[in-house]
């Protein structure tokens, strides 16, 4: 391919796009809608997944030992509990450590510091934070910790059961995926049909030119490429529009939602997802749909 032919093809592609501008607009819009739906569902998916991940991490069991127990005793029980194969980790904080932590946390508060200094003995219990390997093991573990076996040592077992929330989120995620695939598929099909029709009309409008091109010895490639150029233009424009719509969502709305779901959390830079990837995926999707439908139209209606 020489550069003159390449430039001519691009030019013809633009001319075709412009001559059928209303149809081109319709094709671009349908493609844009498809991409917008895809992006929305994609973002929802990422967000839900992120929420599940975050909330799963917050589930744990806190065991508060009775005050006044000897350090040796609490450590012995800690070791006993840690041996449970269902447990992933057991984070032990001794009474003295808890006291130090508390003091450090409130060192700028003179009132608390003063009251602490007046204490003769440590009012804080030793604690054990237990994380299970499996979400479903939590109730069992909590039950065991509350049983008679530990009754003399354990003051309180605190178990926040977030499994219901997680369960619900999982259902939402499943719904998003199923519903998303169906919705994207339906709109992809509509986009294919609209682009197919648009290109077919372009082919029809240029029937004479195509016939003459063939007779004077234009290569098949030269005859076909302007139609492909036209469809690539749909992909480019629809990707640009979608990206323009989602830049504010990604940079303004998303951080707020993330902050709500997990204060201090961020989707940026931690590899969860990158906006450039989304743009690339969108363009690839648009290109795939429009080139595929154009190839279909060319095969069916463009006699070479």
């Amino acid at each position: 391919m020489d550069s003159i032919s390449f430039l001519r093809i691009i030019k013809i592609g633009f001319v075709n796009f412009w001559r059928n501008r209303w149809l081109s607009l319709a094709a671009t819009m349908v493609m844009t809608i498809t991409l917008v739906i895809f992006s929305t569902l994609f973002l929802l998916f990422i967000l839900t997944n992120y929420s599940i991940h975050t909330i799963s991490n917050t589930v744990d069991i806190s065991v508060y030992f009775k005050i006044g127990l000897a350090e040796q005793q609490t450590q012995k029980i800690r070791d006993q509990i840690s041996q449970d194969p269902r447990i992933k980790e057991a984070d032990y904080v001794s009474a003295a450590q808890a006291f130090d932590n508390f003091k450090a946390a409130h060192q700028n508060d003179p009132l608390i510091t003063q009251s602490l200094n007046e204490l003769t003995e440590n009012p804080l219990p030793a604690t054990l934070h237990v994380k299970a390997k499996n979400l479903d093991d939590y109730p069992g573990i909590a039950q065991q910790l509350e049983s008679d076996q530990y009754k003399n040592f354990v003051d309180k077992v605190n178990f926040e059961d977030n499994r219901l929330v997680i369960d619900r989120l999982n259902k939402i995620l499943k719904f998003i995926v199923t519903f998303g695939i169906i919705l994207v598929a339906v709109f992809a099909l509509i986009a294919i049909l609209v682009i197919f029709n648009t290109i077919t009309l372009t082919i029809y409008n240029r029937k004479e030119e195509v016939e003459i091109m063939r007779l004077v010895g234009a290569t098949n490639w030269y005859i076909r490429s302007p139609f492909l150029t036209e469809s690539i233009l749909y992909s480019i424009f629809s990707t640009i529009i979608t990206v323009a719509l989602f830049v504010p969502v990604y940079y303004k709305v998303l951080p707020k939602v993330i902050a709500y779901v997990s204060p201090g959390g961020s989707v940026y830079g931690n590899g969860l997802f990158n906006f450039a990837y989304l743009a690339l995926i969108l363009f690839a999707l648009a290109l795939l749909l429009s080139v595929a439908s154009t190839m279909l139209a060319i095969r069916k209606y463009l006699k070479i």
């Binding site: 020489d2 003459i212 004077v216 010895g217 234009a218 005859i223 070479i304």
Partner: protein, 225 residues
């Protein structure tokens, strides 16, 4: 230059060409005559690879065109110019642009197009009409633009399928004179026509075709059926 060897072309049950043998030499002017539907157009279409043969062989300069790859057909067509009864000019382009279009699609650069097209239009005697649109020209002039377009690749062979079919006597005469002139400049010409008076004027080789068969070949012949 072109050899038809036992060529058969069939459309469903209808034999358009049946056992056709024909030889065309370099620089010849051949009139292919016969009534409408006799197979003249089919014969021309086979030469440019627009239709595939169902039997026999067609050799162009010893190349069997049924062996030419589909992707190479455009390059074959660049060596063969073709004009039609319905002319096929692009209505929204001027005479100059119509000729330029043929050169554009084959990848010639602008400088070459700008220097070549006026020469070709001059050859067909229409340089003064280069900025006219098809609707501003007579039938004969339009056909001469179409011939100019066919000549833009400097073809070795020019096929004319009823080029005077829609033209009155004066315009037809102009077109015929042009074809003869092109032939004199060295291009082989095959003229398919059913206009007997035209053929009788030419006094060159006449090939008569009837119901898909060549029935008569005569040097400096006359139209006879």
């Amino acid at each position: 230059m072109i050899k038809f060897q036992n060529v058969v072309k069939q459309y469903q049950d209808n034999k358009a060409l049946d056992d056709v043998n024909l030889q065309v030499h370099h620089g010849e002017f051949i009139s292919l005559v016969g009534v409408s539907g006799a197979g003249k157009s089919t014969l021309l279409k086979l030469i440019i690879g627009e239709e595939q043969i169902d039997g026999g062989r067609i050799l162009i300069d010893d190349v069997d065109i049924s062996q030419v790859k589909k992707s190479d057909l455009p390059y074959l067509r660049r060596k063969i110019g073709m004009v039609f009864q319905d002319i096929k000019l692009l209505p929204r382009r001027t005479a100059f642009e119509n000729v330029a279009f043929a050169m554009e699609v084959c990848g010639h650069n602008l400088a070459k197009i700008k220097s070549e097209v006026p020469k070709i239009l001059d050859l067909v005697g229409l340089l003064h009409k280069k900025d006219s649109f098809p609707e501003e020209m007579s039938g004969g002039e339009k056909q001469r633009v179409a011939i100019a377009r066919a000549l833009s690749h400097r073809p070795v062979l020019l096929l004319a399928d009823e080029p005077t079919g829609n033209l009155d006597e004066v315009n037809a005469g102009e077109v015929l004179d042009l074809l003869l002139k092109i032939n004199q400049l060295g291009t082989t010409v095959i003229l398919a026509t059913h206009a007997s008076d035209l053929v009788n004027k030419i006094k060159k080789r006449v090939v008569t075709i009837e119901s898909g068969r060549i029935t008569l070949q005569q040097e400096k012949g006359r139209y006879k059926l």
